[in-house]
């Protein structure tokens, strides 16, 4: 009898061990999805990074519950019938329809510990799912970018053929709107700064106006400025506390270079607002763009596509040190613009790349310009990690560290980010209700000086964002 009970006891312990595996909270992401190697604190980091089948099922269960609950909530909203069609009183606007609820979003956030949940209050969302009523297929806008909720953003879209005289005229609505906000002290000085910043922006853009032969290509260069406490116009931080007045310059690039006035733009004279190293920044931007286009092509060629999902947008924030060194930005450093890359999607199709091409992509990485990551107020442990792992770096006088990242490691990080984004997008695409379905998902990431890319934590800063479109919408 004792033996029977002993056997029973041992069996229960095995079961206990199996349960212990699930003792990890069901909403726990693998550690290496959220923690950079330079921030690693746990001795059993690798064990906690395993994405076992059990963990995957538990996480999928959590996501399914969140998504389905949101869908049921919106399904339950009793729709109001539109009031009498206004067309009888006036001419309808182009493409006008009665006001209706078109779409809604679900936001998920992740703590630095890796716990995931539906976001409430404040915090950086790691995943944003956009649900739309099923019906005609929407066309994704590669240049769409959601402004932060409590910011005022005044946007100017650069016209490539604009003359200096017309540029001044086109900027006037932006200047006037900024004056109305009450955050500008000296109107004439502010106007002069806006004109100067726009000319510098146009000069930077002139270096990007080249032909692209890659699947992924730079579609937008965006530069945000803000009015500082002194009334001076400054590059805006990646993350602001809200309530700041932002000015935004946007440039939408044609995939193939089209001769415009941009090709003969002369460098504006100073004093400079965006950077004192305008020529270097222009060249570095071009090098960064070319490198990123090839890295994205490679990452998406290597990672098998998930059926029904298509990545169409990738955004990355850039920074520039006071000494003019440009790189991807990490943490709270000021952003020297965002580059938004698009992937042409018309009809859903696979992207089969013959092996020979992949090899060529791997070989060409040595010829690409180096990739840098900039971090302000770098923690000492990041410096120690860089030293221990032979990652070249420099530190400026204002504690801005400039790390040279191994491009092959960065491409591995990109591939992992693609897989993580695809995983979330697949879960979103699996949820649907009677009326609503996921049409788009955005996943946000932070960068590691090791080249790795992690899901951004709730208190973190987005360094890169990847968007997926549901081709089965």
């Amino acid at each position: 009898m004792k033996r029977i009970f002993l056997t029973l006891f041992l069996c229960l312990n095995f079961l206990n061990a199996a349960i212990a595996e699930t003792n990890v909270p069901e909403n726990q992401l693998p550690k290496d999805w959220v923690m950079s190697p330079e921030d690693q604190t746990h001795a059993n980091f690798e064990a906690q990074s395993l994405f076992t089948d059990i963990r995957e099922k538990l996480l999928s269960g959590v996501l399914g519950r969140i998504f389905n609950a949101n869908l049921q909530v919106v399904d339950s909203i009793p729709e109001q019938k539109p009031m009498a069609w206004p067309g009888s009183r006036r001419e309808p606007l182009r493409d006008e329809a009665p006001w209706h609820l078109e779409a809604f979003t679900t936001e998920l956030a992740v703590y630095a510990s890796g716990l995931l949940g539906a976001l409430t209050l404040k915090g950086q969302p790691a995943v944003q799912v956009y649900w739309k009523k099923q019906g005609p297929k929407p066309t994704p806008n590669p240049m769409a970018f959601k402004a932060e909720q409590d910011e005022e953003v005044l946007t100017y879209s650069l016209n490539e053929d604009v003359t200096d005289e017309n540029l001044v005229r086109e900027l006037e609505p932006m200047v006037k709107a900024a004056l109305v906000s009450g955050k500008v002290k000296d109107e004439n000085e502010f106007r002069g700064q806006v004109h100067q910043a726009a000319k510098e922006f146009r000069y930077l853009v002139s270096g990007l106006n080249t032909t692209s032969n890659t699947q992924w290509w730079l579609s937008t260069f965006r530069f945000d400025l803000m009015v500082g406490a002194s009334g001076k116009l400054l590059p805006a931080p990646v993350l602001t506390t809200g309530g700041d007045l932002r000015l935004r310059f946007d440039w939408a690039r044609m995939k193939k270079s089209v001769p415009t006035r941009l090709n003969s733009i002369a460098k504006p004279s100073g004093p400079y607002i965006l950077t004192n190293y305008l020529d270097k920044a222009r060249q570095d931007l071009q090098d960064f763009m070319i490198g990123m286009e090839k890295d994205l092509d490679y990452a998406f060629a290597k990672v098998p596509a998930t059926e029904g999902l298509k990545a169409y947008n990738f955004r990355i924030a850039l920074g520039i040190t006071v000494k003019g060194n440009l790189g991807a930005v990490k943490g709270s450093a000021s952003a020297f613009g965002h580059l938004i890359f698009a992937n042409n999607i018309s009809a859903p199709k696979t992207y089969p790349v013959p092996k020979a091409n992949l090899l060529a992509m791997e070989e060409e990485v040595e010829q690409l310009a180096p990739l840098y990551i900039i971090e302000r107020n770098t923690p000492e442990k990041h410096i120690q990690y860089a030293t221990a792992n032979m990652i070249p770096y420099k530190i400026d006088d204002n504690k801005e560290a400039y790390f040279k990242v191994d491009r092959k490691a960065f491409r591995k990080g990109l591939m992992r980010a693609v897989k993580i984004g695809q995983w979330f997008a697949k879960k979103g695409a699996q949820a649907e209700s009677r009326k609503w379905k996921m049409y788009q998902l955005k996943s946000s990431f932070d960068l590691s000086i090791s080249g790795n890319i992690e899901v951004v934590s709730i208190g973190g800063t987005v360094a890169a964002e990847m968007s997926f479109y549901n081709m089965n919408f």
Partner: protein
């Protein structure tokens, strides 16, 4: 004899029950995460019913409040007329003793439009 066997069985069941309670305590619920005004991480779990109840109340309030206002809009034939409106819920909350007080709801953003082909946001 039965007393001794009962002791072993009790120990085994106690181990199993403890593990089960830890492992399955919050399972089936929806985790909510956020940062409050003080910058502190806030975590709590809601059952699906609680989640739907809280979020539905806010969602219906937003919808019922906005639609009459939007429908009364008389857009002027100008390119600056509003065609898309985004409204968020779940940005503010109340907290007291205990993990959750009425008011804390997950963030959602509703996008209203009077366009047949609105741009994606």
């Amino acid at each position: 004899m039965f007393k001794v066997h009962w002791k072993y069985l009790s120990m085994a069941l106690l181990c199993l029950a403890t593990s089960g309670a830890i492992a399955f305590g919050d399972k089936g619920k929806i985790p909510i995460v956020g940062i409050n005004e003080k910058g502190e991480e806030v975590t709590f779990n809601l059952t699906q019913e609680e989640y739907k109840q809280k979020t539905s109340a806010a969602a219906i309030t937003v919808y019922d409040s906005l639609m009459p206002v939007l429908n009364k809009q008389e857009p002027k034939p100008s390119k600056w007329g509003m065609r898309v409106l985004g409204v968020g819920i779940g940005v503010t909350a109340e907290f007291g003793i205990g993990p959750v007080k009425v008011g804390a709801i997950p963030k959602m953003r509703f996008i209203f439009t009077n366009h047949t082909k609105p741009p994606l946001l």
